[in-house]
Amino acid sequence: MTGNAVVLGVSLLVWVLLFFYLWRLDRRVKELEKR
């Protein structure tokens, strides 16, 4: 179970990081579109 928990934790971390990167990118693009 420990191994599975590590893999799940890493997968979730990668997803969180990717999501927030895309979220910030989206906001930045929106700002540029407004100019």
Binding site: N4, V7, W15, F19, L22, V29
Partner: protein, 221 residues
């Protein structure tokens, strides 16, 4: 209002994928033959699905560009091809890790591995072609022709070749008997991840097209 709906949609996508990721580990059973590697299924096949979807999207917009000559279609076609390659690489890497666990080696030049390698080469050439032409209209026209023709290889390389030759790769999800041989819980998680990846693809696609539009505006000014 529109902004709020979009924000809720994105948060829903985040929770959807995260939730089903957890379900893949704690709720869905393992396939006896695959053991712990069963979970690769929820990433590998949706990535391959998005590859086909994105490359089809690229082909569709390439044809539309050739008919209407609107630069917007070129932006869509290029964005879709880039994302398609990205997901194809993800599917190849996850498949390779799976192959190591199941067949003992990362790369075996199995028909499915060989065909995915050729597919990557075909679309890498598309990106090379785009970067080699400076003039926008010419680049859009030639890339559209290339993309429309390149897509012919996709069903052939992804679906036909692996069915003609002997392959170590397991049966496709819907096997030749037309049945879906999956435990119901695995099926639910699998289709939920497929839907999540599709949502992620459309978000990436929209984002990349908006960036291309900004670049285009910048070039014009």
């Amino acid at each position: 209002m529109d902004r709020e709906v979009r924000m809720i949609g994105r948060l829903a996508l985040f929770l959807w994928i995260a939730g089903w990721m957890v379900a893949a580990f704690v709720w869905a059973p393992l396939v006896p033959v695959l053991g712990e590697t069963t979970r690769v299924l929820y990433f590998h096949i949706p990535a391959a699905w998005v590859t086909v979807l994105a490359l089809a999207w690229s082909m569709g917009h390439s044809v539309l560009y050739l008919r209407r000559r609107r630069i917007e279609h070129d932006h869509h076609a290029a964005a879709a091809a880039e994302i398609g390659i990205l997901f194809c690489v993800a599917a190849t890497i996850s498949g390779s890790l799976w192959a190591k666990a199941m067949w003992g080696s990362y790369w075996n030049w199995d028909p499915r591995e060989t065909s995915i390698f050729f597919l990557l080469l075909v679309y890498a050439a598309y990106l090379a072609l785009r970067s080699a032409i400076e003039q926008e209209e010419r680049r859009a026209r030639l890339s559209a022709i290339y993309s429309a023709l390149a897509f012919v290889t996709v069903p052939f390389l992804m679906f036909v070749v692996p069915r003609i030759y002997f392959t170590l790769h397991p049966d496709p999800i819907i096997n030749p008997r037309g049945k879906l041989d999956m435990d119901p819980r695995i099926r639910i998680v699998f289709f939920a991840m497929l839907a999540g990846f599709t949502g992620l693809y459309f978000w990436l696609q929209t984002l990349r097209v908006r960036v291309a539009r900004l670049e285009h505006r910048l070039d014009e000014s």
